[in-house]
Symmetry: C2
Subunit: 205 residues, 2 copies
Amino acid sequence: MLLVVSGPSGVGKGTVIAALRGLRPALIESVSCTTRPPRPNEVNGVDYHFVSRGEFERMLAQGELLESEPVYGEHLYGTLRAPVAEALAAGRDIVLEIDYRGAAQVRERMPEDAVLVFVAPPSWEELERRLQGRRTEGPAEVHKRLGRARREIENMVHYDYVVVNDDVDEAAREIEVILAAERLRCRRADAEALRRRLLGAATEG
Amino acid sequence: MLLVVSGPSGVGKGTVIAALRGLRPALIESVSCTTRPPRPNEVNGVDYHFVSRGEFERMLAQGELLESEPVYGEHLYGTLRAPVAEALAAGRDIVLEIDYRGAAQVRERMPEDAVLVFVAPPSWEELERRLQGRRTEGPAEVHKRLGRARREIENMVHYDYVVVNDDVDEAAREIEVILAAERLRCRRADAEALRRRLLGAATEG
């Protein structure tokens, strides 16, 4: 299963996914590609695949990206198609933390596998508090992120599920329940295989 | 939430629902209407609402039935709309054990509330064994039920979820997980209310 997690900057997506991986250690976390330079402490291939703009544009042109987002305009972000396809072929679940535009692309390109979860803040005030509390960004950056948060929330209605991140562990447990239920979801191919298996042995006798 | 449970006769729907009510005592079990006469031990209003064919046809004509099925041709079965609407208005979950034709009617009439779960047998041989093991029906009745079971299974693909009843408690737990996840599902009205609540306070600043 291909789990897509979106939500406004500051809502705590990363923390929720970390808690979810505590509950499901077999879950693979997708590593995005980006053209932005690595920050200190960031490791290539772990935090991101750091690529040049030329390399990114080549991957995009050759259809190697499952989704891509010109997030802040200046830098490009995307997800390589191959590692996702390999994880799914191996029967593993994989989680992508991407924005609403990337989520829409994944939904369109992998409608049978993608489960879209939106992580919402308990309130707007709380989101502002969390963004300001980070102290890693100046007021201009916070203001820009709040503008993007509005657009993320405006697109919430297109997701399959909404999880409010009031408590990190509870939000992670809710996503775990979603994954368990989605495994029981009646996908056409699986249901037809089961039907054939059941009725192959059924003669009109 | 309006939980619809279908599956072939003999698959153990009733036992699974009883186990599910053990896990969720607040779940209401819908009582169907039928024109067939009560069997010994059956209590009117508990096992079924026993009504005359004239009364059934009046309810049907006046739109009082959420769904109805001429199951064995001879006798009519249906679900009153009012108790279902009352349960949902009170915020309670209600479960309907009905066949694939009734399920299709519920889906069409209450698309926002209905969650359709199909209970499948682990194998056709096991279903035959369970039906024959009942010993309450003669071979002709068993044969008729197996024919209906084929039609139920052929329609499985139209359900939201498929639960294989290999172990009753596990099947009940799986339906409980489905209910928990469906509560997080992004229904347009709820998502729009949350969006308004979050963004009502968000000024473009």
